[in-house]
């Protein structure tokens, strides 16, 4: 306090001068419209120049918050896409999609074995159940196998025992999608009849014939076409990069138990 007082007294003339200069600027701001506009422009310029680096610095610390907000936004947009696709199948009547989304984050992701499992930080306490479909930002990821209270294990589509109902987007021809256990970015699609015309580069999407995934979720594109005179065997390059998964979405099907009961 003593130091501050000494400092103020030592530079009292400078402080008085600065005080008067600021008072004069205020005076001219209210006295003259010309000065008002000039001072206003200058203040905008100074404000812009000083706030830019400050904003850069503060935005770095806000990244986590922004990330969470973007994930929420993605969740909402994805649910809108699913709803739109679902509604387009029922032109005459307005139907609510049975699928809702729950966001999660990959904790562990294996791609080294032939039966790969992904661990995600959402469990039964987050309404996650087994046999729920899991999708990534641009394609499918797998199916929930087991859940604990806080975590769930997902059978990746890079799992030899998994078969997913998929279809050729152009012709709507259905087939079975499976992984042979080699490349982590390639899967096979079989059982599509050769009466359908399939070209390299065509898109493969989910078929909607299972309770796991709604219809029309992108899977990948055809890179190789083979046939055995009756059925095609297609090589599909996955849209999702399975080696660097981060944020994923669980698909909760409200009608699952009802559909399952019909199989019994």
């Amino acid at each position: 306090m003593q130091w501050l007082l000494g400092f103020l007294l030592r530079y009292k003339n400078l402080f008085l001068y600065l005080f008067f200069v600021i008072s004069i600027i205020f005076f001219s701001y209210y006295q003259s419209e010309y000065h008002k506009s000039k001072i206003f422009k200058a203040s905008i310029f100074i404000n812009g120049k000083t706030s830019e680096p400050l904003k850069k610095l503060t935005s770095y610390f806000k990244l986590k918050k922004i990330n969470t907000r973007l994930l929420e936004e993605n969740l909402y947009l994805k649910s809108l896409i699913i709803e739109k696709k679902y509604k387009s199948n029922f032109k005459d009547e307005i139907k609510e999609t049975p699928f809702s989304l729950i966001q999660g984050q990959v904790v562990k992701n294996d791609i080294s074995s032939s039966r790969n499992i992904i661990i995600i930080n959402r469990g039964s306490s987050d309404m996650i159940e087994s046999e729920m479909g899991v999708i990534g930002s641009i394609g499918i990821v797998g199916i929930v196998n087991q859940t604990t209270e806080k975590f769930s294990s997902v059978l990746s589509i890079l799992h030899k025992d998994i078969k997913i109902n998929a279809k050729h987007k152009k012709t709507n021809a259905f087939g079975s999608l499976f992984w042979e256990g080699n490349d982590p970015d390639k899967v096979k699609l079989s059982d599509i009849s050769i009466i359908n015309k399939i070209d390299i580069g065509d898109t493969i999407v989910t078929g909607g014939m299972s309770t796991y995934f709604p219809e029309g979720i992108p899977i990948g594109k055809v890179i190789k076409v083979e046939n055995d005179e009756r059925y095609y065997l297609l090589d599909v390059l996955l849209f999702n990069n399975m080696t660097n998964l981060d944020n994923v979405y669980f698909l909760k099907n409200k009608n699952k138990s009802e559909i399952k009961s019909l199989y019994r």
Partner: protein, 137 residues
């Protein structure tokens, strides 16, 4: 051309008085001029700046032993130093008045022209007044 004769107050003010009060006096002098001439604060700013910088101007124009003198009329001050002292104060005052009045880089040439002309005119008038009221026999 418009000579600022009131600047004489800042020129002849004694050196050995407190600068704090001098800055306040300078501000009110300029403020009165602003009110009377309906300007936007150019006179206040120039007077405050001159009164704040006057110790530096004195040191520069009168030399390192400026503390020996109590007024610009003290004996021992060379006429050239005295003229330099007057001229710096007048020039500084005019630069600030004109710059603040126009407040735009586009008018730099006009500001310079007015500053030079007004400074010369003010200088002549002030020298004349000082000589007129000089108490030398």
């Amino acid at each position: 051309m418009n000579p600022s004769i009131y600047i004489l107050v800042l020129i002849i003010h004694r050196y050995d008085l407190d600068q704090f009060n001098f800055i306040i006096s300078g501000f009110f002098l300029g403020f009165i001029m602003d009110i009377l001439s309906q300007s936007a604060g150019s006179h206040s700013l120039s007077c405050v700046t001159v009164s704040f910088l006057r110790p530096l101007i004195t040191k520069f124009s009168l030399g390192s032993n400026y503390e020996d003198f109590s007024t610009p009329f003290s004996s021992g001050i060379l006429i050239s130093n005295r003229i330099l002292y007057y001229f710096i104060i007048i020039l500084l005052h005019q630069i600030i008045v004109n710059s603040f009045s126009y407040f735009n880089w586009i008018h730099t040439f006009v500001i310079l022209k007015l500053t030079i002309l007004n400074s010369i005119f003010t200088f002549i008038v002030i020298i004349s007044i000082l000589n007129l009221f000089s108490n030398k026999e």
